[in-house]
Amino acid sequence: MAVDVELEAVLRPIQYPMPPYPPKVITLANGKKMVVRQAAREDVPAILKTVHPCLFIERDYYDVVSARLYGELLAYYRYRVKSAYCLVGQVDGYLVGIVNGRMETEKVGISYHTLAIDRGLRIGSHLFAAKMEYHIEYLGQEDVLIVAESPIGFRRWMIEYPLEKTNLSHELGGVESYRLTRELYFAAKPRLVVGDRPVPKSLLDQAKKEILYADEKTIRESIAGLKGR
């Protein structure tokens, strides 16, 4: 697509400096190794192919979360959102989960969405924790603003951490935002944030080589079909 360079300079937000998220590896309940790493902008098209089938799954608000995530990732890919990032979880190269967010200011982060493709392995919990780890420990932020769009998200974030309620609005709209402070994060870290670094080279190379994604039927079945039961 042709880009008007002059207008692009106006439309493209200036980014805050963002140190990279160092990859880590997590052993899941089934023994599989999940590599958690920051997706590059050029990874987005492959990620969207996994998100797309989820747009049509009503169960557990996958449709809402996926539709919004799709738009957010596209905006990130096309430089229409400020200081955004995306972390992915991969098992054997396959994409099993996605989280994203952005820096609102240097001190305040915005959590966007968490989408688990493989369910029942706490992949969403691990990836959300990685997202919080990125905001607090690597971006050095003081607070992260978070809302949940599904009861599962509410249980996992608001209750498990637990987050503190604010009267601030979150840019996703909906209810008033909850907040993870540095203090809350470090209090929760021993029981919720895990992962080994560095990631063994073979695992990281496999993850970076290509983001593999399951076919639409498999994705839908893993979320809402027999295997998701």
């Binding site: 089934n30 023994g31 029942g120 029981r191 895990v194």
Partner: protein, 397 residues
């Protein structure tokens, strides 16, 4: 009293079944059982439905009447049996007595529960309605909470360790992964849920000392059996009948605190003993057992109270592989409640369905107990205050 046989069984995959109502599930399982029995135009005289929570969760009562109508079995007699998580076992017991008495010839017993349409919190609260309304429930006790305290005591008294509990978890998930009816068809890994530091997230504490994977899932599901007198069963000849050779039921104090020794599951011992006596068999004669492992500790404790192992030996036996397929006494080859799932009203019936599969020798090799002749079940209600057991016997050589 007439000898009573199971001549047909049916079950639907357990799990989260958003698309099905409770009645749908009961009907699916019942139709499968009727078909399995080769009933043809035989008349079902009575229907018993084991269910604990339709009145609370679905705001629906008289589901046995609804089921009879749905299945076009009018004017069969219809009763709901509510006995907490032992509702399924109790329903089968009532059906068995009706046939044994000579009053009815063909009885359908279905058990079912739909628990996933409410949140996990509400499901836990619903199950806790079986606790004492004055001295337990108002103080926030839950079944996982009771199981946690029971486990702690059992560990202190009998030396059960987390390694022992882990052996039950891994075994039951290994078998559940092979069972198409199982809710959680997922192999677990020792590293992922126990050894690795990452296990703190994968397998968090649920009720000290129990962790997430020590607890059964909350499930939707249904199962059904067809009962008839043994002498009439042989005439149907679609599949070999399985004799209900013995049954037992016993109760214990409502509250755990009133028991002389809270680790002593007297009702389990008594119910099992009654079933063994009636069947003229002993624990050593049993080839395969389905125990009520709503919590991993229960599989271990029940295996001791039944008499498969001495007190204090159940955990070690599990860790040594004695309860695995091919072991001394294969327990929960279905995956148990732990992996197959626990739709509370369905469980007692599902256990009998599984044992019937085993005694008809029709499971795949990786789940079939070779040459199984005698099977045993324990359906554990409350926290051991109402327990139903059965001994089943293969009728063919």
């Amino acid at each position: 009293m007439r000898d009573v046989a199971i001549i047909g069984v049916g079950m639907i995959p357990f799990g989260r079944r958003d698309e099905d109502s409770l009645l749908d599930m009961l009907a699916y399982a019942s139709l499968k059982a009727l078909d399995d029995a080769g009933m043809g135009d035989k008349t079902v005289n009575a229907v018993y439905v084991g269910n604990m929570g339709a009145g609370i969760i679905q705001h629906q009562t008289s589901i046995a009447s609804s089921l009879v109508d749905r299945l076009s079995l009018l004017p069969a007699a219809a009763d709901v049996v509510e006995n907490g998580p032992a509702s399924g076992g109790s329903a089968v017991k009532n059906g068995l007595l009706a046939v044994a008495s000579g009053y009815y010839d063909y009885v359908l017993v279905a058990g079912g529960e739909k628990m996933r349409e409410i949140t996990g919190w509400r499901a836990t609260d619903f199950v806790a309605t079986m606790t004492h309304p004055e001295v337990e429930y108002p103080y926030g006790i839950t079944l996982p909470g009771m199981a946690g305290m029971f486990t702690q005591l059992y560990m202190e008294k009998y030396g059960v360790t987390r390694e022992h509990l882990l052996a039950v978890t891994l075994k039951n998930h290994e078998m559940g992964a092979l069972n198409p009816y199982a809710h959680v068809e997922m192999l677990l890994d020792r590293g992922g849920i126990f050894d690795s530091p990452h296990a703190v997230v994968n397998n968090p504490v649920a009720a000290t000392p129990l962790h997430l994977y020590d607890l059964c899932p909350v499930s939707d599901g249904a199962a059904a059996v067809i009962l008839c007198p043994l002498e009439m069963a042989t005439k149907l000849q679609k599949k070999p009948p399985v004799l209900i050779a013995g049954f037992g039921q016993a109760t214990d104090t409502h509250t755990l605190q009133e028991r002389d020794d809270p680790t002593d599951l007297k009702a389990v011992t008594l119910a099992a003993q009654q079933a063994f006596d009636m069947a003229k068999l002993k624990p050593k004669d049993i080839d395969v057992a389905e125990l009520h492992d709503a919590f991993t500790i229960l599989e271990i404790a029940e295996s001791e109270h039944i008499g498969f192992f001495k007190k204090g030996e159940g955990g070690k036996a599990a860790a040594a592989g004695k309860t695995r397929l091919g072991g001394q006494i294969p327990i929960n080859v279905s995956g148990g409640l732990k992996s197959r799932g626990h739709p509370v009203g369905a469980t007692g019936v599902a256990q009998l369905v599984e044992i019937t599969f085993q005694l008809r020798h029709e499971l795949p090799k990786d789940r079939q107990v070779k040459g199984a002749k005698h099977g045993f079940t324990i359906n554990f209600g409350g926290f051991g205050n109402n327990v139903v057991s059965f001994v089943l016997k293969r009728t063919e050589p």
